[in-house]
Amino acid sequence: MTEISRRTLIAGVTATAATAAFGSMLISPSALIAQPSPVAIDPDATARLQFKAVSGALTGIHPDVLVPNVDPFGTNVEIFAKADVADTNTLRTILSKFSGSPGSPPKTVAQILAEDTKDESAKFLIRSIILAWYLGAWYAPQDLRKNFYGDKDPQHSYHSTRRYSQEVLIPHVVISPNAYTNSVVWRVAQAHPMGWSNLQFGYWGQEPPELEMFTKPLK
């Protein structure tokens, strides 16, 4: 019997939660990226702002929470770089469709996925991005593809190639200490990683702040 690791379980749960969340995202994509950019000279500056907006839709967390105005951790930059290296063409296509352009109105993530019938590259890159935000770890799209197809596609399945493994893990790498400690899974659990917390003395004896305070900008 296949054992499921804690991380694999969390990955599955968060991917499901995020998929549900982006479907109900009400903020328009254009509103998310309509901000003054202090980084206009940087060739990837616009792409990163688009990535911020896409990430908000994918995770269900407000983009300004994921990428605050002053962002000392730069998680957005790190995850964008991972996705760009993994599959730059697919990433740019997703960003382009999501933000839209004159003559080509913005599309939702659901619409983008619906068009992703050829090789499902958008589907698995999107999963990688969701997992990166939620877990602070990078799961390569091709590894997620292998894991997804399992026995249906023996040639690409971890289940077939690692049949006798004690624990079936999808290969992944923690993006950075900051990406891990600030990852979204802690926010949606109203919790913090072991050994690191910004909460003040006595928090353990009190109810955590409301969930919305973790997922939306403070008013």
Binding site: P38, V39, A40, I41, D42, A45, P68, N69, V70, D71, P72, F73, G74, V77, S176, P177, N178, T181, R187, Q190, W196, N198, L199, Q200, F201, G202, Y203, P208, P209, M213, F214, L218, K219
Partner: protein
């Protein structure tokens, strides 16, 4: 309610108001940030200076110097971004500009003159920690205002047995571990003469009055305090809903070096007279030179406080300077070692970098006396950090920009000892509107994302500086909750914990560790000395 009772209440209220008015007039509270007597025209009420500025090259120094007729003494009541922009770089510039104005205001002569010739400063007339948290939890003396020019220690040093004639001298309490051991007991810092660097903590009037009024100066008072600790805010009148202008709570931590004859001969330091108090049997006059200067300032828009840190240019070299052999060049050019805590051209085995000495760190156990003939240990310190980029299109780092600002201000005060002090930088809570929320303890991130993430002064957080570049590489330059960060550290501050009374636990203390130093009215003399 009967008429008599209403009348009695009215008369009672009137009496209280009259009493408060008389206290205010008597104590000259309107004298402002220096807590000085307002009788003379030269002492003005606090004025929050207009901080708006457009950039480093267009700072209007005439405006700064005109803040008060007698010189640069306008203490900022809050900070503003450069050009009103909200990107990280513009905000950082605004905070660093605020820090320089704060440094100049607090280090202006206490007698109201313009900053220039070295003289006792405004902040040195504030209250020192041991004069607030007294043995046996006694109430501190009220805020003292001086009819004449305020002196160091004017406010009001508790007389110590064996330490007479302290007027005009800052008492250095070597009987307190915090005076020579750095935060989290990470170790003492020794200069190249084999002397301890020593540390002092001061509060301004607003902060002291809050402690005094709420009886937070002893354990019993803290136990009886049922509200959330919430020190007064600074406010420049510009924040929405806060038209008031007031300085708010300020705390200062400074580090000193014991000055030898060669230090005094070269007037590069702010120097005052001090008394090195080591108990009733030892109180030694010393000359103290300022080497490090922290300011924490609570404002209405920065509930996590604004954290400024300066240090003397000759404390230590930076990591890059060592790599580029700057220390050796300075030795050649300046006919001797200019650094207080670094020996150039000393190899790693003889002079291990950023290390504490082995064994006991207590002066008595070490048999230490000022200027020991054969120092057993001399610190070899290199400044590391800040290693912060802005993630924008600019090509300069935070360090580059601070250096530029330092150069601009140094030119304005050239020829004074103050031109030898460098702003390291300013740490501030970057989350908005998070940083303006009262009761930050109830937020998901009470620290509101400090920026830069790490910040250390080489004399005050010597052993928890950011990682050296060679260690950090492309990684983050520090370890959360281990590498020095003003806000993240003070985010954990509480009142004094008690193990004797199960019904009372320590509570959040609004980003200050000062309240932890309170004593109990029931403590024995032995416990009070802990």
């Amino acid at each position: 309610m009967t008429l008599n009772r209403i009348g009695a209440k009215f008369i009672g209220s009137l009496a209280i108001i009259m009493f408060l008015c008389s206290v205010t007039l008597t104590k000259g509270r309107a004298a402002g940030q220096a807590g000085q007597q307002s009788g003379a025209e030269k002492f003005k009420p606090p004025v929050c200076p207009d901080l708006s500025f457009e950039g480093f090259d267009t700072i209007k120094f005439a405006k700064i110097t005109a803040l008060q007729p007698n010189g640069i003494s306008g203490l900022p009541c809050d900070a503003e971004a450069e050009n009103g922009m909200n990107d990280a770089r513009s905000l950082q510039h605004g905070f660093d500009y605020y820090s320089w104005l704060t440094f100049l205001a607090l280090n202006s002569p206490a007698n109201g003159a313009a900053i220039g010739p070295d003289a006792p400063t405004v902040w040195e007339t504030y209250k020192q920690l041991p004069d607030v948290m007294l043995p046996n939890g006694k109430a501190p003396e009220g805020w003292v205002v001086s009819e004449k020019d305020p002196l160091v220690g004017a406010n009001k040093q508790v007389p110590l047995t064996g330490c007479p004639d302290s007027e005009g001298k800052m008492i250095i309490h070597m009987d307190m571990e915090e005076t020579y051991n750095e935060p989290f007991k990470s170790g003492p810092l020794f200069d190249q003469n084999g002397n301890y660097a020593v540390f002092v903590i001061f509060t301004n009037e607003a902060m002291f009055e809050y402690i005094d009024h709420n009886a937070l100066y002893n354990l019993e008072g803290q136990e009886g305090f049922k509200d959330e600790v919430d020190f007064p805010n600074g406010s420049d009148g510009k924040a929405k809903g806060h038209p008031e202008t007031t300085v708010g709570a300020i705390m200062i931590k400074a580090s000193w070096k014991l000055m030898g004859p060669s230090d005094i001969a070269k007037p590069k330091y702010h120097i005052i007279n001090g008394l090195l108090y080591r108990g009733p049997k030892s109180c030694i006059p010393v000359k103290l030179g300022l080497i490090g200067f922290h300011v924490g300032h609570k404002t209405v828009t920065r509930q996590q406080w604004i954290w400024t840190t300066f240090e003397h240019h000759d404390n230590v070299p930076t990591e890059e300077e060592v790599k580029n052999h700057v220390p050796e060049a300075r030795v050649a050019n300046e006919n001797g070692n200019p650094y207080s805590f670094y020996k150039p051209a000393c190899n790693e085995s003889d002079c291990p970098v950023n290390q504490t000495p082995d064994g006991s760190w207590e002066p008595d156990n070490l048999g230490w006396n000022p200027f020991p003939k054969n120092p057993t240990f001399k610190s070899q310190i290199v400044r590391t950090g800040i290693h912060t980029k802005f993630n924008d299109s600019g090509t300069t780092t935070l360090e580059d920009d601070v250096k530029r600002l330092n150069d601009v201000f140094h030119k304005q005060i050239t020829g004074t000892v103050w031109a030898n002090y460098d702003l390291v930088t300013t740490q501030w809570p970057s989350g908005f509107p998070c940083a303006g929320k009262k009761s930050p303890g109830k937020l998901p991130d009470p620290s509101c994302t400090p920026f830069p993430t790490f910040l250390a002064n080489s004399t005050l957080e010597t052993f928890s500086q950011p990682l050296q570049r060679s260690e950090a590489g492309d990684r983050a330059p520090g370890v959360p909750l281990a590498t020095s960060s003003c806000i993240s550290c003070h985010n954990n501050a509480t009142t004094k914990p008690t193990h004797n009374n199960a019904r009372t636990i320590a509570m959040r203390s609004d980003f200050t560790y000062i309240l932890e130093k309170a004593h109990s009215t029931h403590e024995s003399a032995k416990e009070n000395n802990k």
